[in-house]
């Protein structure tokens, strides 16, 4: 029987406890393996890897005993099942990758294992990371560990990194990797009451991460605290010659940036984020965020990002266009599912019809259309031009301010099955998160309060390219001011 009290520690506390030898990596991992089993009803993991986790924990214990501890030695984490893991089933939550066991390890997970982290398993997600509710997975929807008080309907955890967010929130992983193409780290973090960090484009290598939209995909961490995000980011970052867009820049000690001092920092409030139909409670929480940062010595300034309203349609042209190209590789020849046909074209068509779910098919078709002869200029080229203007908005804003404060998502978590009729209603979830992907700038989502019906809500700090340090510093000040101490209705180990 493992010790469930170990599950209450943050990553930083667990790291320090391991260093002090208050408990062993094996004890910590055993507690988390049990937690992974306990939260099975949430469907947060596609493939748990408990034996591998214990073997990795034993190796960490050995290093800890020898006084050769690595930065993340013995820290049990979940890996979004979009990261290739050598010899371990990797699905992208798609039927079309049936049985795929990568012969290589993604750069980011390799760095995490080189830092001593322990793999608990592969976390569920929206199919090919396309979705905002984690309901498009071939392996079934993930449930949010939160419920509305007095209401038993299961809620979505957000998406696409929904399994990662649910696992961290329900204390069945100390941290998790995610990917954020249009909000897929920050929106589920917000829905599950945890921290999610999308770094600068190029900070974390995309090599070995199943591609959705290559110019927008950002690997990053989901954690319970801002400090934990800083620790994870350091281990995940660094130049990788195998990713031509990986930035050859040094990796700072992000944890050292958490000084708690934001005096004199200029923080922008983008006025265009006050969208019509934003719930009053989110507007109010945003206002509270302004007061908190002002009280901490920040200088709050209203700024303008005039192109904001065009970010969503721009994203929903560029992302499907890149997806239609990236997903061309799933053809039944080299890996995954194959449906036989009489001709090679018939085999391709039958394989892809059977292997892709409805949302993936929709995006591949949209992408194929906007790239096709006669429509390329009207849609794709136009969207790329608007993207230039959106990126310029951020450059201009960061001449005046050091970072921005905005809501993470326009609502709290919704019930599974809501908002699925109209694809555009689902796309609107990404209204506050998509601009940072188009501009490639870093952003962190921090839980700051509860909605009227008792569900977590978040705010995000958006910063300059390669200035995650400011983003983390301000994020931590926001976190300390908000004192978000609420727990989901379902956590492994039975709560406190």
């Amino acid at each position: 029987m493992s010790d469930p009290s170990l599950l209450t520690l943050t990553l930083a506390e667990a790291r320090d406890g391991l260093a002090r030898k208050s408990f062993s990596a094996r004890e910590l991992t055993a507690a988390y393996n049990d937690a992974v089993s306990e939260i099975e009803p949430l469907n947060a993991y596609i493939t748990p890897t408990p034996e591998r986790a214990l073997a990795m924990a034993d190796a960490a214990d050995h290093r800890l005993a020898e006084g050769e501890a690595l930065p993340l030695d013995g820290i049990p984490i979940a890996v979004k099942d979009l990261y290739c893991t050598k010899g371990v089933l990797t699905t992208a939550a798609s039927h079309i990758l049936d049985g795929f066991h990568p012969p290589y390890e993604s750069t980011v997970t390799d760095k995490l294992w080189q830092s001593g982290a322990v793999m608990l398993g592969k976390a569920n997600l929206d199919e090919f990371a396309m979705g905002s509710s984690n309901t498009t997975s071939w392996y079934g929807p993930v449930e949010n560990p939160w419920r509305r008080p007095g209401d038993n309907r299961p809620l979505v955890p957000g998406g696409s990194s929904g399994g990662s967010a649910a696992a961290v929130a329900a204390r069945a992983a100390l941290a998790a990797t995610g990917t954020d193409t249009g909000g897929s780290i920050r929106q589920p973090a917000s829905f599950c009451g945890i921290v999610g960090l999308k770094p600068t484009y190029g900070r974390c290598s995309r090599w070995g991460v199943v591609a959705y939209a290559s110019s927008l995909d950002h690997p990053g961490p989901l954690t319970r605290t801002v400090r934990d995000a800083a620790i994870m980011l350091r281990a995940m970052s660094g130049h990788d010659p195998k990713d031509s867009t990986s930035a050859p820049v040094p990796v700072p000690d992000f944890e050292a940036a958490l000084t708690g001092d934001i005096r004199g920092l200029r923080i922008g409030i983008p006025k265009e984020y006050r969208v019509d139909a934003m719930p009053a409670e989110i507007e109010e929480l945003w206002h509270r965020g302004v007061e908190w940062l002002r009280a901490a010595g920040g200088e709050l300034v209203e700024i303008s990002l005039p192109m904001t309203k065009y970010a969503l349609p721009t994203y929903y042209i560029i992302a499907p266009a890149e997806a239609s190209s990236n997903l061309a590789r799933y053809d039944g020849v080299r890996f995954g599912l194959r449906v036989e046909g009489d001709t090679i074209d018939e085999m391709y068509e039958l394989t892809r019809a059977a292997g892709f779910g409805a949302e993936v098919r929709r995006r591949v078709l949209i992408g194929t259309y906007v790239l096709s002869a006669g429509y390329y200029d009207a849609y794709y080229l136009k969207a790329q031009q608007v993207r230039t203007l959106i990126a310029r908005d951020f450059v201009a804003a960061f001449e005046r301010v050091d970072c921005l404060l905005a809501p993470t998502a326009p609502s709290a978590a919704f019930a599974i099955g809501e908002k699925t009729e109209d694809p555009i209603a689902m796309y609107l979830n990404d209204v506050f998160t998509v601009p940072a992907n188009l501009a490639g700038v870093p952003a962190i989502a921090v839980p700051v309060g509860l909605s009227g019906d008792g569900l977590p809500l978040g705010l995000q700090i958006i910063g300059r390219a390669f200035d995650e340090e400011t983003v983390l510093r301000v994020g931590e000040v926001l976190e300390s001011a908000a004192q978000f101490r609420y727990l989901p209705s379902f956590v492994a180990g039975g709560g406190r």
């Binding site: 049985g99 066991h101 012969p103 484009y201 190029g202 110019s215 010659p241 031509s244 867009t245 930035a247 050859p248 065009y310 349609p313 721009t314 929903y316 042209i317 239609s324 053809d331 039944g332 020849v333 080299r334 890996f335 995954g336 599912l337 194959r338 036989e340 046909g341 001709t343 090679i344 085999m347 391709y348 068509e349 039958l350 892809r352 019809a353 892709f356 098919r361 929709r362 591949v364 078709l365 949209i366 194929t368 259309y369 096709s372 849609y379 080229l381 136009k382 969207a383 790329q384 031009q385 608007v386 993207r387 230039t388 203007l389 990126a391 694809p423 555009i424 501009a439 490639g440 390219a465």
Partner: protein, 95 residues
């Protein structure tokens, strides 16, 4: 932009996704709805604006053109649905 059934069938053929006759009409409606929503971008004046393909530095890094990896035939074939004698096997392409 309203897409008709024939256009949807054409895109699906380009994308190599088999659709049944019954799927064409609902998809045509759905895709038309999405494309119409996207057309709000026409409000933006983009005359003379350079398109952005990536936020990463424009120049791709170069390296020497030399073999750095290879000899992994077995690993590469290990995930394939059908193989023979070191090759991927597909339906006959040439008559």
């Amino acid at each position: 932009m309203a897409l008709d059934k024939a256009t949807v069938a054409h895109i699906a053929a380009l994308a190599r996704i088999r659709l049944s006759e019954a799927e064409l009409d609902p998809l045509a409606d759905e895709l038309s709805h999405i494309l119409t929503w996207m057309e709000q971008l026409n409000e933006v004046d983009t005359l003379g604006i350079a398109p952005m393909a990536s936020v990463a530095a424009a120049a791709l890094p170069m390296r020497e053109d030399e073999v750095t990896d290879g000899g992994r035939c077995e690993e590469i074939l290990a995930n394939a649905p059908r193989t023979a004698r070191g090759f991927f096997v597909v339906p006959k392409v040439i008559e």
